[in-house]
């Protein structure tokens, strides 16, 4: 495990240079609004594996993921665990207007958060429609994602579930790529087999078996345990049970 993330990112820096400036909760803010946000923001870094927030904890901040990946999980008393969200850069953490955290938030990779003190942020939300509007938009998107995931959890087979998860990673990866033209996608799985299982409502053994099966059938290529190549994205989407073309709702 990396002992220290480069600390530069955790030092204060300008919103203007921020990598998530145009996708995060602050996306619609004007220059003066950004300046007000700068007053109440601070950065925090977390190591891979660290729990940022425990379900039930008092929350004194909300914020945005700047870099890295975190998971949102729910756990039953007997230990059964379900991941209910995957937090990627620009995603929002916390719920304005509520004190207790509803889920565990765990850093899957090293992570940097841009945090806002909760009370001042809530006050700003009342005064700054641009923030509330953007938060509503993001929340509606998350709701759609959650509902799409309900279909995955409730009705898809293990093989389709794995293909669906890989599609998410692939789609995300494609959106970061400059060259969209070529159909071949390459990325590293950001989750362990167990974390994938928790996302998909499966056991880690089933995840492992289905990944092996997709590999054997040529739907994916695997180098090592994490490095994935998708030779044919539409083939993967077919395996996921989605309609041929991405299926991104406008």
């Amino acid at each position: 495990m990396n002992m220290l993330k480069e600390p530069s990112l955790s030092n204060p820096h300008d919103c203007v240079d921020c990598p998530i400036r145009h996708r995060a909760v602050c996306a619609r803010c004007e220059t003066d609004e950004l300046e007000a946000l700068e007053q109440i923001k601070y950065y925090r870094s977390f190591q891979a594996g660290q729990t940022l927030i425990w379900s039930g904890d008092q929350m004194d901040f909300v914020g945005s993921v700047v870099s890295g990946i975190a998971t949102l999980t729910q756990t039953m008393e007997d230990g059964r665990t379900q991941m209910v969200g995957l937090l990627l850069p620009s995603d929002f953490v916390g719920r304005p207007g509520r004190d207790g955290a509803a889920y565990d938030v765990v850093a899957t990779t090293d992570l940097v958060m841009c945090c806002f003190r909760k009370k001042p942020f809530e006050r700003m939300m009342m005064e700054t429609p641009h923030i509330a509007q953007r938060l509503l938009e993001m929340t509606l998107d998350e709701l759609d994602a959650a509902r799409e995931w309900m279909l995955v959890l409730g009705r898809k087979t293990a093989r389709e579930k794995i293909a669906s998860l890989l599609s998410i990673f692939a789609r995300r990866d494609a959106s970061l790529k400059v060259d969209v033209s070529k159909d071949t996608l390459v990325f590293d799985l950001p989750l362990t087999r167990e974390a994938m299982a928790d996302y998909l409502g499966l056991t880690l053994e089933t995840v492992s078996r289905q990944i092996s099966a997709l590999k054997k059938d040529g739907v994916i290529h695997l180098e090592g345990k994490r490095h994935v190549t998708i030779p044919n994205l539409s083939r993967l989407l077919e395996e996921a049970g989605d309609d041929a073309d991405g299926g991104i709702m406008v």
Copy 2:
């Protein structure tokens, strides 16, 4: 099937007398804001079984359920369907800022909707923070509900799933009851076995069997197919795998 819902409700009437006045998207509106809303609202009635909105359809309105129950469902090409939401009185339908409907919306009972023409409503949202604030709050609640349901779909057994669904009905019913003191709850199931199966990611046979099992074990009583008595709510919650006490997050 009832041929006609009493038509009185579908005629224009004052927001002030509205049964969902304090829970719907208009909950925070002042008198003058309500008057503006009255200008763009109209009522529509639907019969049980009718599809209000088809996934992919152009949406020219958004609105609130005034009375009755509707479901939000997603369907795969091969016919597998997953219910992704249950719309009860005061719940909001439609997504401001998007043209196409993402899900089928089907009336489970006779239903009355308070509709707002979409464009004027979107304009009002920009000008009326009270509406946007309330919509954000409601959307965050729905997101929490969707995530709780992900746990149900991903990790609970068939028996726990049924108990969880019954708990939702019971909880909702309890909130409408005057006398909260007594532990015994009585209500009619608002869904067919098939609709319950679609909500829970099960088959209707499994739903039927698990309901029979819960009946045999005295967790519920059944009169006819739909009329349910819960003699002991905490017993039911235990069967649902939730922590003993309601588990409503503050």
